[in-house]
């Protein structure tokens, strides 16, 4: 008798489950607010309206190993939240089959304010960017059709796509849109710096930070411009040629122009304290090493070093005293946004 009761209950549960599958769940719009000190949005939200279900699907996909050939390497494998969504401590990252690429993982933050992506601009729309890591042999080593097939055959994804997009159909457009919804929401705008410039909570720079901000504005901000700390241009900063990675050509790989050799996108400096190591190949382990490079380490590297880094006497570099460097580092640490780094909305668990 007990058994029958159990079976009936079980039936009831199964029944309601299968019914659930076909009950349309109305996704709720997510509010996206541009911080007061930020420039205008580059991402077209009207083509991909943000919803809670779309965001949740994107988050699940971001941490989904099925996007890789082995089923293990997710986006989050190389983009760890506590490191500003970079690969903690890795100069370059290792992907499928132990293969290594030749570039340092870039942070994921404020991407909705950028219109070109990766170190060389190999993606010209945020939606299309994930194709690169998914299909690159040295990263996730998969194909889009195979990823879609795995998701279609899973027990949970058809329902999650149904919730996000109204039908259970799983296609590349929806996959990429969901990932974009997650990434668009990843905005880092609540560092100490932000609170100072927005005059919130009576936050003020220390004397050293304020001095660093002043020096930064004089010597760094022509490239690390504005509140994104990047003018989104590609520049050759005179970094010594890296013989370990002869395939590296910088922006030339994308543009084909010889003049773009060893040019890289000016990176944002937000959360820079947490995104070490630095530069396109992760060669510098500390901010001190980066600033020492800018004052004394620049060389001709086979490309055209940016004019802004050539001094009047023709030598390369930026004049920075050790006091300047100490102050700049103090200022850069104010760009750490703990609210973002600990925001549970973006956390894997």
């Amino acid at each position: 008798m007990k058994k029958i009761g159990l079976i009936i209950t079980l039936f009831g549960v199964l029944w309601s489950c299968s019914e659930d599958t076909y009950v349309p769940v109305e996704p709720q719009d997510l509010v996206f607010e541009t911080p007061a000190n930020f420039p205008g949005l580059k991402y077209d939200l009207s083509a991909n309206p943000l919803t809670d279900m779309g965001f949740e699907l994107g988050k699940k996909l971001f941490y989904e190993g099925k996007l890789s050939s082995s089923g293990i390497i997710s986006c989050g494998f190389c983009h760890e939240q506590s490191s500003g969504f970079t690969h903690h401590g890795h100069t370059i990252s290792h992907g499928e089959n132990g293969l290594e690429g030749f570039r340092n993982t870039q942070p994921i933050q404020n991407l909705a304010y950028f219109d070109e992506f990766t170190w060389d601009g190999a993606a010209i729309h945020l939606d299309l960017q994930p194709i690169i890591p998914i299909t690159a042999e040295v990263e996730m080593n998969e194909t889009m059709p195979s990823v879609l097939e795995k998701l279609r055959n899973s027990s949970e994804y058809p329902e999650l796509f149904n919730r996000a997009f109204g039908t259970p159909e799983i296609n590349s457009e929806r996959l990429l849109k969901a990932l974009s919804q997650f990434m668009v929401m990843m905005v880092s705008s609540n560092s100490k710096y932000d609170k100072v410039v927005r005059q919130e909570e009576n936050t003020e720079f220390t004397a050293l930070e304020a001095e660093g901000y002043r020096v930064f504005n004089n010597k760094c901000a022509s490239c690390h411009t504005g509140d994104l700390f990047s003018d989104q241009s590609y520049r050759n900063n005179g970094i010594p040629y890296n013989r370990k990675h002869p395939e590296e050509e910088g922006r030339k790989r994308v543009s084909g122009y010889v003049s773009d050799f060893y040019k890289f996108k000016v990176p944002s400096l937000r959360n820079i304290e947490k995104t070490f190591p630095y530069m396109h190949d992760g060669r510098f382990g500390s901010l001190q090493a980066v600033l020492d490079f800018y004052s004394d380490g620049m060389v001709e590297n086979g490309g055209e070093v940016d004019a802004s880094l050539i001094k009047e006497d023709g030598t390369l570099g930026i004049d920075l005293s050790s006091q300047d460097k100490e102050a700049i580092i103090a200022f850069l640490l104010t760009l750490t946004d703990y609210e973002f780094l600990e925001d549970e909305r973006f956390s894997e668990y």
């Binding site: 889009m144 590349s172 990429l176 974009s180 543009s255």
Partner: protein, 261 residues
């Protein structure tokens, strides 16, 4: 001979007659039909055969071709009165792949009935389409990837893929060649549009489905407005000078050979 001439005259007369009767009925043409665009890959005057024939290229170079693939897009048809029918953009991206027979025939449905005399199409993917993000790509992304028309290191399409082996007077062992051409991010747009006149009109009716037979002469790729010697560069992928030249050569290789009505 005489009979041939006679037959020709009769044929001509019939075609003129049928043309003129069309003109009379022009106002009455309604509805839509299907127009098929056929891409017939050739090498000079011969049919192109993959992995079989050896073809002459520039100077002493001989090539053996394993892959011919290209993206055809944004098809437009112009009729006798200059009216243009544009295939809806999101249905107007196709991959022509010599190893896939079906891909050589592009069926355009819902074409307004009319007498078309010009066809325009894009070779590759326009920047506008890229900038539509995931919305713009739809399923074409997966199709392109399955056909090997996506780069894995760049989020972009290969517009044209041409691969095989070659030899020359100086390169006596068979050596691989590969030309992959596409746009270079936002730095260089290699998308090109091609307009071709038709020798006779394609008369689309609800009950007539014409085939526009386009011959693509692949010999033009190496020996077109720019000459490429494979000994100089057997692999060309992203090159700011050569990629646009390849794009020009490719866009010059098409002609409408004939139209079946």
């Amino acid at each position: 001979m005489k009979t041939t001439k006679f037959a020709c005259i009769i044929m001509l007369a019939i075609s003129i007659l049928s043309c003129s009767s069309d003109d009379v009925n022009n106002d009455n043409i309604t509805g839509t039909g299907v127009l098929t665009v056929e891409f017939d890959n050739a090498y000079n005057d011969s049919d192109l055969l993959l992995e079989t024939s050896v073809y002459s290229a520039v100077d002493t170079e001989k090539i053996w071709i394993s892959d011919v693939k290209y993206i055809v897009s944004n098809i437009r048809l112009e009729d006798e009165d200059g009216e243009v029918y544009t295939v809806p953009k999101n249905e107007s991206y196709f991959i022509v792949n010599e190893s896939d027979e079906n891909s050589l025939f592009i069926d355009l449905s819902d074409v307004p009935a009319g007498n078309y005399k010009k066809i325009t199409f894009g070779l590759g993917v326009d920047q506008e389409k890229y900038l539509e993000g995931a919305t713009g790509q739809g399923d074409f992304l997966s199709k392109a990837e399955e056909a090997g028309m996506m780069w894995s290191w760049q989020a972009g399409y290969k517009f044209f893929v041409y691969e095989g082996l070659y030899t020359s007077a100086t390169t006596t062992t068979e050596t691989a060649f590969a030309f992959h051409m596409g746009s270079h991010g936002t730095a260089l747009d290699n998308y090109k549009e091609i307009t071709l006149d038709m020798p006779t009109t394609a008369r689309v009716r609800t009950d007539i489905s014409p085939v526009v037979h386009i011959v693509s002469d692949l010999s033009q790729v190496l020996d077109g407005s720019t000459q490429f010697k494979l000994d100089d560069a057997p692999q060309i992928h992203v090159d700011a000078v050569k990629s646009p030249q390849i794009a020009s050569n490719v866009s010059g290789m098409f002609m409408v050979h004939h139209v079946h009505n």
